[in-house]
Structure formats: C-alpha cells, structure tokens
C-alpha cells in the first residue's frame, strides 16, 4: 500500500474565491478521503435580521451573497409578504422575474468563465466575462447598481423599466444570446475541455437524491426538479421547462448551466413581451402579523429556502435561510474519493460553490 498523505485544499486556493477547507487524504495521485471544514465566513446575518426592522433586512439579506444578491432580496420580500399574506401587482411579479433571470444569466456566465479558467483555458474565461459585462450594464441601467440591486421591497419593487430601457434590454440580450451561443459551442466541443470533464466526478441519480442535492447539480444527474416549476412570480405564465442532463459528470453540469444561460435569456425576452402595464407597489398594512411562512426560490446555484416567523411587531421573531451550496457540499464526499488529485479543482468547481451563502 502506498503511503497516505493529507493535504489541505483551501481555505485559500486559486479556484476558490471564498474560504472552505477540504482535508484531502490521497494515495499516490488518487484521492481516498475528504473532510470538509466550514465556518470561515460566518457573519451572523440570521441573528442580525431579528434585531433590525423588517424593511431593513432586505439590504442585509442581499449581502448574504454577491452573485445571487438579487434573488436573496426577492426571496426575503416574498417570504415576508406571505406572513400577511398579501398579493403584489402583476407587473411587479414580471419585474422580479426579469431581474432574477438577469442575475441567473450573469451568474452562469461567470461560472462558465471560472470553469474555463480552472481548466487553464484563459482566453475563453475572458470571452465569457466580456459578454457578462453587458448583462451587468443592463442591471446597472435598470436597477441602479451592478451587484447589490436593492430593487425589491415588501409589497412590490422600487423601480420600473421604461420603454426606452426595455428596447435596450431586448437588443442587448439578443446580442448576448448570439455571442454566448457561439462560445458555448466552443466550450462544449473542445477536445481538451471534454478530456478534463467527461466522466469526472460522476454522481448517479440515486446518489444525488439520497444526498439531497439541488439546482443545476441535481438536474445534471437526471432529476427533473426546479423550484420555478411551481410557477411562483411570473414563471407560471412563461411556460418554463427545466433543463435536464443524465450523465451526472462535470461535462453534464457544464451543459446544464450553459443551456440554462440561454434559457434565462429566452425567459427574459418572453417576460418583456408579456409584461402587463400597471402598478408596481402596494403598501403593506401594518407590521407582519404573528404567523409563519416559507418560500423556496431557484437561485443560480439551486434551491434556496427561506423561513420567517413574525410576532406582530416590526421585527421578525426568526429568519432562517438554507442555501443551495450547503446541500451540494455533501456530494463532494462521494464524487472526490477515487478521482485524480488534478481533477479535484474542476470537481469542486462543478458544484458552483458559494461559501458566503452557505455560512451567512
């Protein structure tokens, strides 16, 4: 038997922008065992949400994560609206959908770039981030900022998209779709990319369900599961169908995210064409009543679960957030043992880890 070595992967590692440690035991070049260590990024946001007034928490929840900040803010507003429960105007629902899908587009383009970077495909990384910049510009134009949009409030949204902005959005999104399609075609057919991803980190359908995975990671293993299927916001009227691949390896996860990028752009274009006119905000009546509510939203990384408990005052009694990466980390313990040490960065990246979400 070859001698065993234990090496730390992280908390500082080039493929990880955020701190998570994986203690990897390996024999020669084969990984034998993995022990993850979490908790480097804990900020106590859930507790802080109990101290603040409920409208102020929107800005706090948006800061759980930089990439999915828009959907975190929207999810918080949705769960607090369910405490009354109150109905928001249809145009606000469409606007929330458009901004959610816009942030999904930029998140997936970012991930595709990061994957190319992890494989050493630097030019592809730059190309993906170049077209992502256009989506960020659209977000800045419509919401006011590039990252923390603060655009959703309890009872609707703060900003409207006017006709001129709508035209620019549609034109830019069509451009982005065309360019992304060409790049995705390169990424999906490139022999080097295939050599590094096909058959690496395989997770079967049964394992994925047993480990409670979610999001694109689960859909790449052949499970048709997506929170948007429930038809929240405007998804019910947009004819949404989840994208599913069956192989369950890194290549399948890349394809799912690549196709979801294009699908997100299509959903935005459809939402723009169907968006009704009207109000964008209704004022909530008083403080959130003593009640409990849950809301499940589909973030770029998977299912995000929000639970809120009100007590009749302006503060919430409890807010609980379960983020997608927390459910996807256990799959690393199945995927990594048996793989080559050189494949570890790609496999870790293939779950699209977001540690600041996980630890809050």
């Amino acid at each position: 038997m070859a001698p065993r070595t234990v090496a730390p992967f992280g908390p500082q590692h080039p493929v990880l922008p955020e701190p998570i440690q994986l203690k990897i035991t390996y024999e020669d070049e084969k990984v034998v065992n993995v022990v993850p260590a979490l908790g480097y990024g804990h900020r106590g946001i859930e507790k802080a949400c109990e101290i603040n007034d409920y409208p102020k928490n929107i800005h706090l929840c948006e800061r759980i994560c930089g990439i999915c900040s828009c959907i975190h803010g929207i999810s918080y507003c949705e769960v607090v609206e369910r405490l009354w429960p109150m109905e928001i105007p249809p145009r606000a629902k469409y606007l929330r959908t458009i901004w959610s899908e816009m942030s999904r587009t930029h998140s997936h383009l970012l991930w595709l770039g990061l994957l190319a970077d992890a494989l050493g495909f630097e030019s592809m990384f730059m190309q993906f981030w170049r077209i992502r910049e256009k989506v960020l510009d659209l977000l800045e134009m419509t919401t006011g900022t590039r990252v923390t949009h603060s655009v959703s409030v309890v009872g609707g949204v703060r900003r409207d998209i006017n006709d001129e902005q709508k035209k620019i959005c549609i034109r830019t999104l069509q451009e982005v779709r065309k360019e992304a399609e060409a790049l995705i075609n390169v990424l999906a057919t490139d022999p080097t990319v295939k050599a590094r991803t096909v058959g690496k980190g395989v997770l079967t359908k049964e394992q994925a369900i047993m480990l409670g995975n979610n999001g694109p990671h689960l859909r790449a293993s052949g499970v048709k599961e997506d929170c948007r299927m429930e038809g929240m916001q405007a998804y019910g009227e947009l004819g949404f169908e989840p994208i599913v691949e069956t192989d369950g390896d890194c290549y399948a996860r890349t394809l799912v995210r690549a196709r979801e990028t294009l699908q997100a752009i299509d959903l935005q274009l459809e939402a723009f064409s169907k968006m009704p006119e009207g109000e964008i905000y209704v004022r909530p009546k008083g403080s959130p009543p003593a009640n409990e509510a849950v809301f499940r939203s589909e973030q770029p990384r998977g299912e995000c679960f929000y639970y809120a408990k009100g007590n009749g005052t302006r503060n919430l009694e409890r807010l609980r957030v379960r983020t997608p990466t927390f459910a996807n980390i256990p799959s690393l313990l199945v995927m990594l043992p048996g793989s080559e040490l050189a494949d570890v960065p790609v496999i870790v990246l293939s779950i699209d880890p977001c540690i600041s979400c996980t630890e809050r």
Binding site: N52, P55, K56, I58, H59, L60, Q127, R130, E133, D137, E140, M141, G144, T145, T148, S150, R158, R159, A182, L183, N185, V186, T189, D190
Partner: protein
C-alpha cells in the same frame, strides 16, 4: 481551433474591450446609484431618512440643529432619498472617490424656520 475562429478574428480587428480607466471614465447611467448629497436649505430635521436608513449612516441632532452623515457607513441604497418629502436628500449618479480616512459630514439644517411658520 476552427470553431473559435470567428471570435478570434473579431477580436483581432475589434479593438480592446477595456478602457484606459483613470484617464477615460465611463459616464454612469442616468438612474445609477452613485452617492447622496444633502440640500441643507430644505432639511427640516424630520428624521425620516435616519429612521429608514438600514446602515445607521445618518444621525439627527435636534438640539444642535444638525444632521450628521457618515459616508463610509452608507450602502447607497437610496432609501433616504425616497423617504425624504422635502427633497433635502439628493440622489446623485456619480460615484464617490475612495478616501483614506473616514469622513463625517455635518449639515446644519436651515429649513426648520419655514416649517415653524406653517405650524
């Protein structure tokens, strides 16, 4: 790699995608959230902005007739600009430049007399 050839050719003749940043600065979008400014002439120290600020960046001192603003705490959400009914908080779309020491802005409210007359 023939599949990537159109992208390569476009990049070869397309010029750079980046700008020479400190020299060439992109104009912010019209509705972009840059920073906030205070119009002391309109401020009546009602405290709407300070109550709604999620970052506690604004403090009201009624005894001294002052509004104290901490720009380093501000998260540029513009809740104050929407809450102000007197147009005393101005939403500007240009970013603040970085600073070495955390500034503290003290604004003396001059709009109070007008309000007293109305009452």
């Amino acid at each position: 790699m023939p599949v990537m050839l159109p992208t390569v050719i476009r990049n070869l003749f397309g010029g750079p995608a980046t700008r020479m940043y400190p020299v060439q600065v992109r104009e912010p979008f019209e509705g972009a959230r840059g920073h906030i400014e205070f119009n002391d002439d309109n401020c009546i120290l009602c405290g709407n902005c300070a109550r709604q600020c999620p970052a506690a960046a604004i403090e009201i001192n009624k005894e001294k007739n002052e509004l104290v603003f901490y720009p380093a705490r501000c998260i540029i959400c513009f809740v104050c600009a929407e809450a102000c009914k007197k147009d005393a908080v101005i939403a500007a779309n240009k970013w603040r430049t970085p600073y070495y020491t955390k500034p503290v802005e003290v604004h003396v409210a001059k709009g109070k007399k007008e309000k007293a007359k109305k009452e």
